[in-house]
């Protein structure tokens, strides 16, 4: 039986896993980089060990250091969270070789799903619908042009090793395909060390809908409904919800059965997610499988009452799932907003810094998963996600109203966050109507920036009082003059 688990991660997900371990009475071992000495996951864990300097490559991606701590601490298992080592098949294999349980799928399943063109082939062979396109990486711009002719424009070029929107290009016109191919390939080389590109028919105004699956080592595999993840900025999810306002019970069963088929085709074990692209007619196509816990897993937990991390741990410990497909009922509605330390008024530039004070929302139907704390550092070395705010309601309208309330209560002093942007999304008429597709943000927030609120006397008064009290405290004179910001735009944000 698993009695001690090492968490090979940081931030809110490390804390999330820690909480599941506490709930199960299992001892927890945190690892941390030198920049994270004071982090929440370090302080909440039973044991904590430093694994290297701040840069991830020297700490959270340092397999040797992580495994060394696992051995020293007597951990029987490692939970990788998301990101970092979570989809690293070689690491999963090393764990197995050293007799340490990797809380996740078998290395073979990670590998099968990790290489995107191979995954598409596998899925097509298993009878899972895939977007029409190439099943092999394209060699040259000319090959890409030929393939696009047969699929029909618009097409999407995608990095085979990719993820997170890197190495992707939408091409609507044959004249652009060669340049786009070269751009995508060189970006993929830079990002993943692999320039392989494949091509798919582009789905117009697609929704991004994904299905949560759970499989145990005894051959049981179930689906836990879908998540609507169409609200994305630069291919990064911002707001997610469960269920999807677009999915009927019949469609849910259909997608769920296909998702289970996909998972079984790669011998999947643990929690996993099948991402689908869904067109305006409800036709859905396999995009990829995330062979790990997702950031947005909490919305599924809120509507099903199932603790996915607890199930992962029990499954890794060899137990058969306590849940059958018939135990899964979707009750009410859940939404998640990801709070990032970034400046929505200034092209979403990330804002590292020190949190002077934080107040997280609370009260009925609100869940917060975060690692933020008063005097905590938002480090420039890691993801700028500060917290996840999750709300539940008896229906979609109630859930959105509670999200509005929770975001209003959310308060961080010291760093910029995207809270106002999230508020603008959640209160947008199109969002409330459930008219979601992946173009939502681009269409409704021009330049992907949030306009500043219109002036109100209370804001002017607050600034005046703050200025008055600051000067009275004998603050130094301001340095002369201010210059316009030279900070233009993210280089990866074309």
């Amino acid at each position: 039986m698993i009695g001690k688990v090492l968490i090979a991660n940081r931030g809110e997900i490390a804390v999330r896993v820690l909480r599941a371990l506490r709930d199960l009475g299992i001892a927890s071992v945190a690892v941390y980089s030198e920049a994270d000495r004071a982090a929440r996951h370090v302080r909440l864990a039973d044991e904590a060990y430093c694994i290297g300097p701040a840069p991830s490559a020297q700490s959270y991606l340092n397999a040797d250091a992580i495994l060394d701590v696992a051995r020293r601490s007597g951990s029987q298992a490692i939970h990788p969270g998301y990101g970092f080592m979570s989809e690293n098949a070689a690491f999963a294999e090393r764990c197995e070789a050293e007799g340490i349980i990797f809380i996740g799928p078998p290395a073979g399943a990670i590998r099968s799903m990790g290489e995107k063109t191979r995954a598409r082939q596998l899925m097509a062979a298993a009878g899972v619908p895939v977007v029409p396109g190439t099943l092999e990486p394209l060699g040259t711009p000319e090959e890409a042009a030929l393939a696009a002719e047969s699929t029909g424009y618009p097409v999407m070029l995608k990095a085979a090793a990719g993820g997170g929107g890197k190495g992707m290009r939408l091409v609507s016109d044959p004249s652009q395909i060669a340049a786009a191919f070269r751009d995508a390939s060189s970006e993929a080389v830079k990002a993943f060390g692999d320039g392989s590109i494949y091509l798919e028919r582009a789905v117009v105004r697609p929704r991004h809908i994904e299905v949560q699956v759970l499989a145990d080592t005894q051959g049981n595999c179930i689906y836990l409904g879908e998540r609507e993840c169409s609200i994305q900025r630069r291919h990064q999810k911002v707001v997610e919800e469960a269920p999807s306002p677009f999915v009927s019970p019949e469609m849910r069963a259909g997608m769920g059965e296909v998702a289970v088929k996909a998972a079984k085709a790669v011998g999947y074990v643990s929690a996993g997610t099948i991402e689908f692209l869904v067109d305006q007619n409800g036709e859905f196509f396999f995009m990829e499988m995330n062979t790990r816990l997702q950031v947005e897993h909490a919305v599924t937990e809120m509507v099903t009452g199932v603790d996915l991390v607890r199930e992962q741990i029990r499954i890794a410990d060899g137990y058969a799932m306590s849940l059958g497909q018939n135990d899964i009922r979707i009750k009410g509605w859940a939404m998640e907003c990801r709070i990032y330390a970034e400046d929505p008024l200034n092209n979403f530039l990330p804002c590292p810094g020190t949190i002077h004070a934080v107040r997280l929302p609370e009260g009925p139907n609100v869940r917060v998963d975060s690692a933020a704390f008063t005097r905590g550092e938002i480090s420039m070395y890691y993801d700028p996600m500060v917290a996840k705010v999750i709300t539940w309601g008896s229906d979609r309208g109630a859930c959105a109203a509670t999200m509005n309330r929770a975001l209003m209560e959310f308060q961080i002093v010291g760093v910029h966050t995207n809270r106002d942007f999230l508020l603008a999304i959640v209160n947008h008429a199109e969002f409330r109507a459930g008219n979601l597709d992946t173009g939502f943000i681009g269409r409704n927030f021009r330049g992907a920036s949030l306009p500043a609120g219109t002036p109100v006397p209370a804001a002017d008064i607050a600034a005046a009082i703050y200025a008055f009290e600051s000067s009275r405290k004998g603050a130094c004179l301001p340095s002369a003059g201010t210059t316009p910001s030279p900070w233009r735009r993210g280089l990866d944000g074309r």
């Binding site: 002077h356 004070a357 508020l423 002036p455 209370a458 008055f468 233009r488 280089l491």
Partner: protein
Amino acid sequence: MRYWIIRDERQIPVEVEEVPGGYTVTMDGKPYQVESSRILEGLYSLIIGGESFEVTVHSHEPGRYDVHMYDGMRPVEILSPLELVLKSQEGARAGHGASIRAPMPGKVVKVLAVEGQAVVKGQGLVVVEAMKMQNELQALSDGVVTQVRVKEGDSVESGAELVTIGEAAEAP
């Protein structure tokens, strides 16, 4: 004390006067009775004519304040008499060289600027990486690079001067 709000090219006079439990703030001649309670540094509860506001105020640059309210953020530029004078002098000097500063902490991954080089407005000078994202700092106006203060691999703090651009006439 007298301040000015700078908005849409206008200078709106604001008078702040302490009264028991708060302030009388007179904006553009209109007085507001404000019950003010400072909860923490930068966090205020204001009650104005029965309306309750909880606001956080944040200042990144002198005279510029981000006021966060429940329904969103309002940027406010408000200057003291001295700041107003300094600003107008600065306006008169505009174009006479500018410092390119790091608006956030990060790591310098590429230095594009060379001392003595002529640059045009919008030309990339330095690339700084923060939170896995590379961002390019660009020239704010045409000019000549008079000084480069960083090299690749340097960690820089927010506000650190990276490159100075002078007018062409000032170049060596």
